[in-house]
Structures are given as structure tokens and as C-alpha cells.
């Protein structure tokens, strides 16, 4: 045998070129992926900075056209009310359904539930809005005659959220390793004890992400609101009836940007920046909460 049968150490030219090429593509993909976020923040800030101040967050719209003076307190409060109503409906239902789909995953009823839930994910939001209108809002509809109101809109948004929470909860539970579950069962734990004590804590980050995705979806919806709530320049005392509409940031942006008024366009972009910041804060808040509850579950039994 010859002595130097092995090639020289170091990468071949082909591999060097390939590494550089793929590395470059990855970098381009990364830049393309984050550019929109930076663009949103930059454009919203650049176009809206003239309207930004602390009082913008704390005052109601006024002047003529309405909103040319004052701020977006109605939209902030209204959006939070809608998120709260939607979450009160969708988090318990969605998490419970996700648990069911995980635990009974192969039963016919679970398969049917999963299929229907996935179909709901694909329903366009304008259809949710129209059906919400007929069921919750209008006097000539099928059910509740609540008028254009926060409750009608909140529940409609909640129903939009349920399949999102369900799907992500089931997936998060599926990601819990089987060995982990078996370890507990082999110690004589019941199904319920395993779910409560181990599976949910292990999946809590994923479940939190699912709730967050739902909330973010709801925050950005305008089509369902057009039919079930529309808009309010003030803060309502009731959530049903003829004065039950709430403000909403997304609707506020939508309405302001349609007005032929430069001043309202500035306000719209300032509101867009606020909405984006609320989204980022909620994201961090949920992550922190999930992290904290996991720590808690580790310490306790």
C-alpha cells in the first residue's frame, strides 16, 4: 500500500463553495423573513410619529372628522374586552377539546371532531362575521338579538379561536414523550393524574402558544366586527343592546385610513404601531407565564 492514500486534510473546493452558497442563501432567507416586521415598525413609526404621545393612549377620539383630536383609548379598551370575551369562551373549550383529541385520538368521535375542527380553521372570517350577525346581532336572526355589540363580536371571535386553540393544544400534548407518560403510569398513576401532573405541565408552553396564536388572530380581525359590532368612539357601559358596541384597534385603523383626512391617516399609523406593540407584549407575557408555570410544576408534585 502507498503511504499517502488519504486525501489532504481540509475541505475540498466543492464543499467550500457549497458551504458558502448555502450559508448565503440561509442569510438571505433570514433577512427576508425579518424585513417585514422591521418594515411594519418603521413605516408605522415614520407615518404615525406626529400623533404619538402618552395622551394618545389615554384619551377618546374627538373633533371633526371624529378622531382628528384625542387618542385611541376606545380602541385599546375595546380590543382588550373582545380578547377577554373570546378567550373566556375559547380557552376552556379549546384546551378541553385538545385534551380529548389527544387522549382518545383514535376513536371515531375524535376523528370526526378533528376533521370538523380543521374545516372550521378554513372558514373565511367574513363568513364567521355574517353568521355571527344572524345568530347574535340582528333582530330578524336566529337567536340572541343583541344588536351590534361587544358580546356578539367577542363570542364570534371566540368561536374563530376555538379550532386554533384545539389544534395547537393537541399538537403540544403529542410532543410530550411517550416514555415520560409511561414512567408515570408504571408508578400507578391514573390517566387523570398523568394529564394534570405531567402532560399539561410539559405541554404548557405549546398550549400557551396556541392561546396566543388565537388571541393574535382575534386582535387582527376586522371582517367579523363589521357585521357584529362595528365600532364605537367611546367606551360603552353595556356589552349588549343598541349602545353595546365597543371600540377596536383594527377597526379604528380600517376606518381612519378610509377617511379623506391626512390627520386621521397619521392617527391610523400611530394606532398600527400601538397594536403591533400590544401583540409583541402579549407574546412575551405568554412566554413568561408558560416559563413560570413550568418552573412551578417542577417544584410541586
Amino acid at each position: 500500500m502507498a503511504e499517502n492514500v488519504l486525501p489532504e486534510k481540509g475541505l475540498s473546493l466543492y464543499r467550500k463553495v457549497r458551504n458558502a452558497l448555502l450559508g448565503g442563501l440561509t442569510a438571505v432567507a433570514f433577512v427576508l423573513a425579518v424585513t417585514p416586521l422591521l418594515a411594519i415598525i418603521y413605516v408605522a413609526y415614520d407615518r404615525g410619529k406626529a400623533a404619538l404621545s402618552l395622551s394618545f393612549l389615554t384619551t377618546l377620539p374627538g373633533g371633526f372628522p371624529v378622531g382628528i383630536e384625542g387618542g385611541i383609548a376606545n380602541g385599546i379598551v375595546g380590543s382588550l374586552i373582545l380578547i377577554l370575551i373570546a378567550s373566556l369562551l375559547s380557552v376552556p373549550v379549546g384546551v378541553w377539546a385538545g385534551l380529548y383529541l389527544w387522549d382518545q385520538s383514535h376513536t371515531p368521535l375524535a376523528k370526526a371532531t378533528r376533521l370538523l375542527s380543521d374545516l372550521l380553521l378554513g372558514v373565511p372570517s367574513v363568513i364567521w362575521g355574517v353568521v355571527g350577525f344572524y345568530v347574535f346581532s340582528t333582530n330578524t336572526g336566529y337567536g340572541f338579538h343583541w344588536g351590534f355589540s361587544g358580546l356578539a363580536a367577542g363570542l364570534t371571535l371566540g368561536f374563530i379561536m376555538i379550532p386554533i386553540v384545539t389544534r395547537v393544544t393537541e399538537q403540544a400534548l403529542r410532543d410530550v414523550p411517550r416514555s415520560y407518560i409511561e414512567g408515570a403510569l408504571a408508578l400507578g398513576a391514573s390517566r387523570f393524574q398523568v394529564v394534570r401532573g405531567l402532560a399539561i405541565p410539559a405541554a404548557i408552553t405549546g398550549i400557551g402558544t396556541g392561546i396566543l396564536l388565537g388571541v393574535l388572530n382575534v386582535l387582527g380581525q376586522t371582517a367579523p366586527l363589521i357585521f357584529t359590532n362595528y365600532y364605537n368612539t367611546g367606551i360603552p357601559k353595556n356589552l349588549v343592546g343598541s349602545n353595546g358596541s365597543v371600540g377596536d384597534l383594527a377597526m379604528q385603523i380600517f376606518i381612519y385610513i378610509h377617511e379623506p383626512s391626512k390627520g386621521l391617516h397619521v392617527k391610523a399609523m400611530a394606532a398600527a404601531l400601538v397594536l403591533t406593540m400590544i401583540v409583541l407584549l402579549l407574546d412575551m407575557g405568554i412566554r413568561l407565564l408558560a416559563w413560570g408555570s413550568r418552573k412551578y410544576a417542577q417544584r410541586m408534585g
Binding site: 383514535h106 414523550p177 416514555s179 415520560y180 409511561e182 414512567g183 408515570a184 403510569l185 408504571a186 408508578l187 400507578g188 398513576a189 391514573s190 393524574q193 401532573g197 405531567l198 405541565p201 410539559a202 413550568r294 410544576a297 417542577q298 417544584r299 410541586m300 408534585g301
Partner: protein, 259 residues
């Protein structure tokens, strides 16, 4: 090997004409087999021979496979393991299990061992502390972890994690411990510690171990069963199996003619 004790061994688990199925696939064919009290019984055989299925059938860990079913009889102290009124949770409290890969919970070392007691409703801190200490000592882990009981179980080495899983199983005071290839993911030193530990535990527990490693079966067990293609080919005293097997297939396997 130790000489057989003069007293007759007491049957702990008796399996008669036992078959197991995953859907239409039959994994075990008419197994007749007795596991004796306070003995170590080893199950050997090539991959897919049914030894793990058999082990997991003994504490109903296969119940979670949707289309799994059994035929025949398996009894624990004379009571049918698959009887209609039997709660599998209670069977698993009496028949504990340690798995191939260490699977500690995402909790502290203390809480890992205390988990089995907590789910039974034990709340007293002093009772828990006592049992945790006792179990960790029995699993030969106490000296290594006593100063960091509140540390994460994941900070332990693989061998330590496996002994933690054994301590966790011991804490609920099972009568039988099933070990499913407990050392196959461990280094030789950790393996030796687990094997020593089994000898210590034998005085108080009935132990059944599945292993790929024939030397391990020969080293640790009193009785050895050889499985092939879902049937029990031969079960006998370990010395007998490894020196003078009755069935030519057993001899072929232990001499390495197939594996």
C-alpha cells in the same frame, strides 16, 4: 451461581397458555411460565421475539396500545391480572417497572422519587422525606445526590438517572419490579452498579429483567427464559440454560449461532 436454596421457591406470577396480539399479529404464542418470589428471572432472545411484550403484559403497560389483547391466564399471587374487575392502576402499584432509557420527570430529584407517593395522596413532608431517603439509599444513589435533592433530575448522568428511576419505582413499595433492558443505554461502570443493585434488591423484591445481553443474564439471574418468535422455548435455572440447555435452539442462540 449460588446453589438453590433448599426451601421450595414460591410462585409470584404464574402465566398459563398466555397469548398476546397486536391487532391481527400474534406476538406471544401460548406461553407457560412462572416467576418465583425473591428470585431474579431473566428473559433473553433476539429482537422481536416477544420478551418485552411479555414483560409489559405483566403490569398491563400494553393496555394503551389500542388493539392489544391477551388470551389465557396470568396471575399475581393467584389473582388474575387481566380479570374483569381488576383496576390496572392497582396492578401497576404492585408491579413496578423501569424502562430501557432513563425517563426521569422534569422535576427535582426529590420530587421524582416522591411522585408515586404524592399521587397516592401522601402529603406529609416528613413521611415523604423518609421514604425518598430510604428509596435513594436502596437504589445506591443517596450519597451522590443527598446534597442536591432539589436539583433537576436532568443534571444527573445517565447511570444516575436510571438509578433514580429505580428509586422512584421502589418508593411505592412494589412487590415485583420489571426491568426492560435497564442497562442497555448505560456505560459498563453504570451497568455494573445496576447489576450489584439488583443483587441487593433481590432479598426483598421479585425481579424480572429483559436483556439483550446474555452475559448479563448469566451474571445476575437465578432463572433464565429464552424466547424465540413469540414462543417460550425454554425456561430453567440460569446455570442449566447456559451450560446444558435442553433445546438445540437455545444452545444455538447462547453460543452465538444467531442473534
Amino acid at each position: 451461581m449460588e446453589p438453590e436454596s433448599p426451601a421450595l421457591p414460591v410462585p409470584k406470577i404464574e402465566v398459563k397458555n398466555f397469548s398476546a396480539f397486536y391487532g391481527k399479529t400474534q406476538a406471544l404464542h401460548n406461553v407457560d411460565f412462572t416467576i418465583y418470589e425473591r428470585k431474579i428471572t431473566a428473559m433473553i432472545g433476539p429482537s422481536g421475539c416477544g420478551k418485552s411484550t411479555f414483560l409489559r403484559s405483566l403490569n398491563r403497560m400494553n393496555d394503551f396500545f389500542l388493539d392489544f389483547r391477551v388470551e389465557g391466564s396470568a396471575t399475581l399471587d393467584g389473582e388474575e391480572i387481566y380479570g374483569p374487575a381488576v383496576n390496572p392502576v392497582l396492578i401497576r402499584q404492585r408491579v413496578g417497572m423501569v424502562f430501557q432509557k432513563p425517563n426521569p420527570f422534569q422535576k427535582s430529584i426529590f420530587e421524582n422519587v416522591a411522585y408515586g407517593l404524592r399521587i397516592q395522596g401522601v402529603k406529609s413532608r416528613s413521611v415523604l422525606s423518609d421514604i425518598v431517603e430510604k428509596s435513594l439509599k436502596a437504589a445506591a444513589l443517596w450519597d451522590e445526590v443527598k446534597d442536591r435533592l432539589n436539583g433537576s433530575a436532568f443534571s444527573l448522568s445517565g447511570g444516575q438517572q436510571q438509578r433514580l428511576c429505580i428509586a422512584r419505582a421502589l418508593a411505592v413499595e412494589p412487590e415485583v419490579i420489571l426491568l426492560d433492558e435497564p442497562a442497555s443505554a448505560l456505560d459498563p461502570i453504570s451497568t455494573a452498579r445496576i447489576e450489584e443493585l439488583m443483587q441487593d434488591l433481590k432479598d426483598r423484591y421479585t425481579i424480572a429483567i429483559v436483556t439483550h445481553n446474555m452475559q448479563q443474564a448469566a451474571r445476575v439471574s437465578d432463572r433464565t427464559a429464552f424466547f424465540l418468535d413469540g414462543t417460550l422455548v425454554e425456561v430453567n435455572d440460569t446455570t442449566k440454560i447456559f451450560t446444558n440447555p435442553e433445546d438445540p435452539r437455545t444452545e444455538d442462540y447462547i453460543t452465538g449461532r444467531f442473534g
